[in-house]
Homo-oligomer: 158 residues x 4
């Protein structure tokens, strides 16, 4: 038999901390910043760092997928739940839950999060004021890079 099979080999991707830029989580908050590592728009999955200033709040949001959150520094909670997450803690969030992020006033917070599915941000009457997806996370960051003269990063993890 002649001919060869296509090579299907894959390998891990490394994203250095300084290969991404912090950018504001517009239009939701000036006090919350993001650093997007990867955004898989076909699966709706995003690997992203989140930083919020001490005391910042991020409006009520409604999850339609899981969020895996590992806290690096500071303490934060959800107004709707009675636990507080600090450095080294892990929070496993599920679809079908709704809450309001509150950063403790004592210190800025930073966490690594893996977001699956969209997040709806809600207004005072429960109306949808914004829908975040891997696509919007990617577009916001790509726009930021374009506006600042940075080269467009490769965000699709594979």
């Amino acid at each position: 038999m002649t001919g060869t099979l296509p090579d299907l080999t894959t390998e891990p991707s490394h994203f250095a901390a300084d290969s991404r830029h912090w950018h504001p989580f517009t239009p939701y908050s000036d006090e919350v910043h993001l650093k997007v590592f990867t955004a898989d728009v076909a699966r709706n999955e995003t690997a992203v760092m989140l930083r919020a200033e001490a005391g910042a709040q991020l409006g009520v949001h409604d999850h339609f997928g899981r969020v895996l959150a590992y806290t690096l520094r500071g303490r934060w909670s959800y107004a709707e739940h009675d636990w507080v997450s600090g450095p080294g803690d892990f929070v496993y969030e599920v679809a079908n839950s709704q809450h309001t992020l509150v950063a403790d006033p004592a210190e800025d917070i930073e966490m690594f999060i893996y977001v699956e599915g969209p997040i709806h941000f809600l207004g005072a009457d429960g109306e949808i004021v914004g829908i975040e997806t891997a696509r919007t996370f990617a577009d916001r960051y790509l726009r930021f890079c374009l506006d600042n003269g940075y080269p467009a990063p490769e965000l699709n993890p594979y």
Copy 2:
């Protein structure tokens, strides 16, 4: 050492075709019926049969996750794409895509679908008229069972 480990054994779950009831896909269409096998509300994943009458349409919807669709009978297409799916075909849908289901007028259609993430149904001006999740699929079917005196099915797959 005394004491025993918790038993973590798992096993497959079997859902017989006649263990589920067809019910209308309210409020979207009287011509489209569903049969829900499983609904994982924490992950937002639903295994469901979909039947539509010949010629039926299901309004524009916006995907926020993947849909795996295997066609059993009839032919259907998306108004926005140029292929037609018939019996034995597989359609792999991704997040971040938007389309209108059209059943061929010659024959009723039936398919097995695995839905990940929510689906937004859109109105004439692109406004959201409904959001479907594993939770809404489950609630609709559980309500149907309750209204018809059927016992509540176990929908969580594990």
Copy 3:
């Protein structure tokens, strides 16, 4: 601001039933045939049709991920469990389970399956005799196409 964002638009992929070829599930059985729609080697996920002759068995296998199985025709069971799956039934299999497929002697079976993670095939003493992954499913089918002069199909779903 000048410049444009990369276009991140995605769309569904359609795989016609006759765009794929049945091929034997070597080396496990001459009586079991596959038709691979998609194989995502980075995620280890495969969408595949499986046909087995009436009375065929597929040796003990050990699951390391989920399998979603929708039966089209014939009846089959796992020697280790007490249910029988027939046309229209759905089976939700989980990681961490081990079993032997047995096709009912009355009729050939056919099912659509979505396989996540690897499957280990085991010998008489529980030893591993084969490991199936999206990569091996892809390689087997690509080899079959090469050997028969068919063009190499695109198997990566996105």
Copy 4:
């Protein structure tokens, strides 16, 4: 209509850093320790901290699913690849890849990892010397708790 629907409400789970114990990654290494947050044995997914002593190596392993790895301190690499991961970096690993973890000799390393699918540890001739799954991660930690008189933790995330 009388009767009520089952309540399908879900909510996030918080796992405090000090609610889990470090334990050795037996039998692979005395220099590598784990702290398991969650283990979903049906999906084969594990959220776990990994610590390795400066200069430690973890034998060749073969991935059958993705691993999401966020580095907290120290520097590490894979002998087979040419990048080095340091604090704040993210590594996205895919199925179908094989490599050897090497901790930089200057400093202990620590990372948060989310492991999907099994990992095979390989011997000098490529033979399988161990298979790690959510089940083995759970069993190892539950055994450690039992042996040390700690109560058995709840590891299933939902």
